[in-house]
Amino acid sequence: MRKRTIGVLALQGAVREHLMMLENCGAQGIAVKYPSELFACDGLIIPGGESTTIGKLIVRDGFLEALRKRASEDLPVYGTCAGLIVLARQVTEGNQPLLGLMDIVVRRNAYGRQVDSFEDDLIIKGIQDEEKPFRGIFIRAPWIEEVGPDVEVLCEHKGKVVMARQDRFLVSAFHPELTDDRRVHLYFLDMVKELLS
């Protein structure tokens, strides 16, 4: 079977870590810098970074329309942290450009500033060995304040939604790519496989 090609949006942020994780999971990761490269991808990861910046660069480089179009056809997308924000329908404050692919309302920097950034054990529904905790790294992280009826909540931390899925779109407020735990990326690769078959 051919390796899945997963793009990592490479405008800004933790691109390398996702590429390394994808390789560890047996997929082929490619850095996506131009909209035309989206057509080579079986799936896309929008990485963590500075969400205000990534939002602006998505508009500047013509990704807003290209991504909406490609995603509405059949492209599975996973957003971490800033990527989660960009995929949302709405943020509680500010008016940054959003792809609006998921029916979620998001609060940016919900936990506070960097000194409030933290790590903690999470239980995530649907990943391998789901009863085994997953170490969640939260960095100036957002949380999901409202979810629409089609959104499945996969993980909560102290009553806040921090991971969710809607059809072929997946988001997490934390950073699996900063750990050695492959389970969230494998879950996304399974989504890609399902949708391709």
Binding site: A10, L11, Q12, G13, A14, V15, R16, E17, K33, G48, G49, E50, T52, T53, K56, L57, R60, D61, C81, A82, G94, R108, N109, G112, R113, Q114, V115, D116, S117, F118, E119, D120, D121, I137, F138, I139, R140, H175, L178, T179
Partner: protein
């Protein structure tokens, strides 16, 4: 168990800043211009390095009022500088809630022998380095991000290039050094042995490395990225130029597309005058700030 201020959380924020531009700002208005241009973070200062250089005297941590106003003006991370070895300035910056402390040679050092013990803090630190040994000493003290020093406030990229090339050469050399020689290398470099071994095995620094000190144009920024920087700090280069907003946008775009000369040509057009530059030999060796710290 929930843990704050872990090394992963500290280095993680730097990972999120990669491929981005961090801009020096002195007012909330400048901070907004930087954010609007696509900066990934701002450095809150009382004066930019070119003015610090011109003013002379002792340069200290900025007034907390300025830092706080800037923190309120933008939602991107805000960094601020403490003097080398001035752990109380760092404590104050942590209490203010800044997102990163820069233990910086741009300010007048407060301790001639010792840098801050950065492990004691929840807030992460970025520190300057001119070679691999210095970078690893800072990481050994708890720095979660490194920036090559360059020569701040000059608008002259030559020192930034020297420092980035030096560190990369030293890293490359380590990757082909036999394991039994690494202890001697560590001794020579004055760097912690375990970090020397890590670099030899992985072929890179264990934390993110940005370039700083003298970047004034989109081409400068793109060159530093091509030389292997994870991102760039632009100090005086933006707000000492003729059209800061346009230059800030152009440098951000040059950092994203650092490998695409067509885009670089496009963004380099019509930016007005860059900051006036300083030739390094004219400054005199005793006035170079890159040799502050050890």
């Amino acid at each position: 168990m929930e843990e704050k201020g872990t090394l992963r959380v500290k280095t993680g924020l730097a990972e999120m800043l990669k491929g981005g531009v961090i801009m020096d700002v002195t007012t909330p208005e400048q901070a907004k211009i930087a954010e609007e241009a696509g900066a990934v973070a701002v450095m809150a200062l009382e004066r930019v390095p070119a003015d610090i250089r011109a003013a002379g005297g002792v340069a200290r941590m900025a007034d907390p009022t300025i830092i706080q106003e800037i923190m309120e003006a933008v939602t991107i991370p805000v960094m601020a500088k403490a003097r080398i070895g001035h752990f109380v300035e760092a404590q104050i910056l942590e209490a203010l809630g800044v997102d990163y402390v820069d233990e910086s040679e741009v300010l007048t050092p407060a301790d001639e022998k010792f840098h801050i013990n950065k492990w004691e803090f929840k807030v992460p630190f970025v520190c300057g380095a001119i070679n691999l040994g210095e970078a690893l000493r800072r990481i050994g003290e708890g720095a979660a991000m490194i920036r090559t020093k360059g020569e701040a406030g000059t608008g002259n990229v030559v020192e930034a290039v020297r420092h980035m090339r030096t560190i990369n050469q030293e890293i490359r050399r380590l990757t082909v050094t036999p394991k039994e020689e690494l202890m001697a290398v560590a001794k020579e470099m004055g760097a912690p042995y375990d970090l020397v071994c890590w670099v030899a095995e992985n072929g890179r620094l264990p934390v993110v490395n940005f370039s700083a000190g003298g970047i004034a144009t989109p081409a400068d920024a793109a060159m530093m990225m091509q030389l292997g920087a994870d991102g760039v700090f632009v100090g005086s280069g933006i707000f000492k130029s003729e059209d800061p907003a346009a230059r800030a946008r152009a440098i951000v775009e040059a950092v994203t597309h650092f490998n695409d000369p067509k885009i670089l040509a496009e963004v380099s057009r019509g930016l007005g005058k860059a900051m006036a530059g300083l030739e390094i030999t004219e400054i005199g060796k005793e006035n170079l700030i890159q040799f502050r710290g050890w």
